[in-house]
């Protein structure tokens, strides 16, 4: 194979792999991402049921209700709007009322939120960074609550 033909072949191979990677990424970015939002933003966004969302907020005091089995529900709030979240699994260690958490899931037909995962970070002072920003924006930031180490 001549030098030119060999170079051409390499250009084609590299082109195919790179365009394949770019194409795949573009495609995957349409489905693989989920929007992170607070309850009031979720209300405004008017997503169809089933759209994947990361919902973050504070667990309302006194709102945690446990069912017969493992299922649990609680209100997740940003002090403006709140959603009832249903979860059918074991809650993380750091889940507490008044604690900031992130949950990933989607809206159900009845307007409640069905969570697939609930994350409470392994840091006692943790409030999700997204939340801290939001609270600051809306002027409801309580300096002492959120401490980054």
């Amino acid at each position: 194979m001549s030098r030119r033909a060999s170079r051409l072949l390499w250009i084609v191979v590299i082109g195919v792999v790179l365009s394949g990677a770019v194409g795949l990424s573009m495609f995957a970015l349409r489905d693989g991402i989920s929007f992170a939002m607070s309850p009031s933003e979720l209300k405004q966004a008017q997503f169809a049921p089933g759209q994947r969302v990361r919902l973050f907020g504070l667990v309302e005091e006194g709102s945690v209700k446990r069912g017969e089995g493992i299922d649990v529900s609680f209100r997740l709030s940003d002090e403006e709007t709140s959603y009832t979240v249903h979860y059918d699994n074991i809650l993380p260690d750091l889940f507490r009322e008044g604690q900031g958490i992130i949950t990933e899931g989607s809206l159900a037909a009845d307007g409640s939120f069905v969570a697939e995962t609930v994350l409470a970070k392994h840091d006692e002072n943790y409030v999700p960074a997204e939340m801290a920003d939001k609270l600051k924006e809306s002027g409801r930031w309580k300096g002492g609550v959120v401490a980054t180490q």
């Binding site: 194979m1 030098r3 060999s6 072949l9 390499w10 191979v13 590299i14 792999v17 790179l18 394949g20 990677a21 795949l24 990424s25 495609f27 995957a28 970015l29 489905d31 693989g32 991402i33 989920s34 929007f35 992170a36 939002m37 990361r54 089995g69 493992i70 059918d88 699994n89 074991i90 809650l91 260690d93 750091l94 992130i102 990933e104 994350l119 970070k121 392994h122 840091d123 006692e124 999700p128 960074a129 997204e130 980054t148 180490q149």
Partner: protein
């Protein structure tokens, strides 16, 4: 007092590093060999003083000296002794000090073992390491000083309970040895660019360092994965979390670097690309440090992050990588293009390896940074989850894994694809057998998982094709084959072992991904739940009393038929100093498979909620990485000897020529 000594030692180390940043370059430009040799002494001195500084901090932790703010914030007098010591690097300041200690260690290693390096190259390498060292010393002294005092406090605030684990003793040092190890290849790359010339010998000097860094990084990532698996209690071993990706990115490009440096060493080709990879790999290591330390991305693994100081690391990253890339753009046209090769050849295979690894690294980087870019552009918050990574990463990795066994069977310059394919016939047969057996009989229905299992077997068997062929070439007979096998070059064995390890890991990944089961149960004492072939009987809840925690554990009897095979004790702990609960999952191993049991909550009526996974062949994931590490280390043990021998015979002539120029 020792703490103040540690502080002073760090300042002295910083001063030495500043000296080392300038003097070797000056000496090299004047051809002053004796002046340049002073950099050997400063690198050793920096290591000694940084070591003293680090030791003094460890000492403060060992004594639980709560007049040191850093110790007070991250330690507790009742902690087990090991965790007191490892707590030294379980926080931002201590962790950065460990980082810079390892940087100093590698810099000193170049000074000590680099006796065979050309004088100018060595001077430049040590100078570049001086820049890195002084930058990080200044960073620690000005923004992250671990030696600050306060009025003595009676009790410390305790170490984050998640970190009170043997994992903290091993994982961060391993990972840093890997991350920071690539600083050497970076220094060599920049030195080569400064000098404006690069030769195959460059790759011969760089490859052992890159290999050592890669071995540590592989071990560190794998160790971290297992730690997260047993500690976080979600049964996951990889989350595509930003912090994981941050360590995985330099691993991908570092793996590419190992392979491209091989081409450069043997065939004098891919030189420019190899230099670029060396820069990018360390750049990604710095990016990883930045992502972990700054908390700019939401992660489950980052501890004690600090956005302010993270910005400093970003500035360091931009300065070093940006500067190196500018230098690259300016100088690389002067580097000469090396030897030619046919597309079907060892070189060609290694180019494809690099292409796929780097494309994969590119998609992982895109997915990791996309949320940051998206927020900067639109203001919206998004997260990129595992679906993205699975969809982009697998289609790039699976073809690579299919191609791996061909590589070592192809000759340099021009390979024989048919011949290689024939020698892989046995591997193909084994793979087909597994696909048919699993897909048709064991787990009928789904064909994707059996296909990937076949691919894993293909790689595991194919990895040894070359070793097998060479060992049996002289005729059969067990003792003859054994003798020939042990006489093969070590590099051949280490390649086979490392590639085999990749196959083993892939096998573990596909088995656990496709066939794991999860059971969530609420159980009263005496209840039995069936998981796979095992029956789990919940007996009771008992109290646990630890040195700095309290807790409760569930007692479960694991039965295989009638036989009692294990007692599982998943527990929950509460650490009063930090008001923080943790779960300790119970993990029972059966050959390569595991039963993973996490305790949810203990209810007032004595019942418990449990989350139980059956994880088939999950251990293979980490076992595979052990093969990779052993393969890499094996090759390293050989290289040290051969490099020394080679340099001894070649030292006289080239070095004489060096001085003449």
């Amino acid at each position: 007092m020792t703490v103040e000594l540690g502080h002073v030692a760090l300042i002295i180390a910083c001063a030495l590093a500043l000296y080392q940043s300038v003097v070797p370059i000056f000496a090299a430009s004047r051809g002053d060999v004796r002046l340049a040799a002073t950099a050997d002494w400063t690198s050793t001195g920096i290591l000694v003083f940084t070591g003293l500084s680090f030791a003094s901090l460890v000492y403060a932790y060992a004594l639980s000296d709560f007049s040191v703010i850093n110790v007070w914030q991250n330690s507790h007098s009742q902690m087990p002794y090991l965790y007191k010591l490892t707590g030294t690097w379980g926080n931002h300041e201590g962790s950065m000090l460990l980082w810079v200690l390892i940087l100093a260690l590698f810099a000193a290693a170049v000074a000590v073992f680099g006796g065979n390096l050309p004088f100018r190259l060595k001077a430049y390498v040590l100078a570049v390491q001086g820049w890195l060292l002084s930058t990080f010393f200044l960073f620690i002294l000005l923004t992250s000083n671990p030696f600050l005092r306060q009025p003595p406090a009676p009790e410390g605030r305790d170490l984050n309970p998640i970190l009170q684990d043997i994992g903290l003793a091993i994982h961060p040092p391993m990972l840093y040895l890997g991350y920071v190890g690539f600083s050497i290849t970076f220094a060599f790359a920049v030195a080569a660019l400064l000098e404006g010339k690069i030769e195959p010998a460059w790759a011969r000097w760089v490859r052992p360092w890159a290999l050592a860094a890669w071995v540590f990084l592989t071990a560190g990532i794998s160790m971290g994965s297992y730690w997260a698996y047993y500690e976080l209690g979600w049964g996951g071993w990889w989350f595509w979390d930003p912090v994981e990706n941050a360590s995985f990115l330099p691993w991908l490009t570092g793996t590419a670097l190992l392979h491209s440096a091989l081409v450069m060493e043997r065939r004098d080709a891919m030189k420019i690309w190899t230099v670029l990879l060396a820069i990018l790999t360390f750049g990604l290591s710095l990016l990883g440090t930045f992502l972990v330390r700054s908390g700019v991305l939401t992660s489950v693994h980052s501890f004690a992050s600090d956005p302010q100081r993270g910005l400093f690391i970003l500035a360091i990253l931009v300065a070093f990588v940006g500067g190196a890339l500018l230098l690259f753009a300016w100088r690389s046209p002067r580097l000469q293009i090396g030897g030619m090769f046919a597309p079907i050849s060892r070189e060609g295979a290694l180019v494809v390896n690099n292409l796929l690894l780097c494309a994969a690294a590119g998609t992982v980087l895109l997915g990791t940074l996309y949320p940051v870019v998206y927020e900067a552009v639109t203001g919206g918050k998004i997260s990129v989850g595992p679906p993205f990574f699975n969809l982009t990463f697998s289609p790039l990795m699976l073809p690579l894994i299919f191609l791996v066994p061909f590589g070592p069977l192809l000759a340099w310059k021009k390979g024989d694809l048919n011949g290689a394919a024939q020698r892989l016939g046995f591997a193909l047969l084994a793979a087909l057998l597994v696909i048919v057996l699993v897909g048709g009989f064991v787990k009928p229905g789904n064909w994707l998982a059996p296909l990937v299992m076949g691919l894993a077997v293909w790689l595991m068997v194919g990895a040894f094709a070359e070793v097998w062929q060479r060992s049996t070439a002289g005729g059969s007979g067990a003792s003859l084959i054994l003798r020939r096998a042990s006489g093969l070059p070590r590099s051949m064995w280490s390649t086979a072992l490392a590639h085999f390890g990749v196959g083993v890991t892939l096998m573990g990944i596909v088995c656990v991904t496709a066939y794991e089961t999860e059971t969530v149960a609420v159980m009263k004492p005496g209840d039995v739940v069936q998981v796979n072939r095992y029956a789990l009987r919940f007996e009771s809840v008992e109290k646990v009393d630890g040195p700095n925690f309290t807790g409760e554990k569930a007692v479960l009897t694991v039965l295989d038929g009638d036989r009692n095979v294990a007692t599982a004790l998943p527990s929950k702990r509460f650490y009063p100093a930090r008001q923080m609960p943790t779960s300790e999952a119970a993990i029972e191993t059966f050959v390569f498979s595991q039963l993973y049991i996490a305790l949810g909550e203990v209810r007032p009526d004595g019942s418990v909620s449990l989350r139980i996974w059956w994880k088939p062949q999950v251990v293979l994931i980490w076992l595979g990485s052990i093969f990779m590490v052993v393969g890499g280390a094996f090759s390293l043990s050989k290289r040290r000897a051969s490099v020394r021998a080679k340099s001894r015979s070649a030292a006289v002539a080239p070095q004489g020529a060096e001085h003449a120029t």
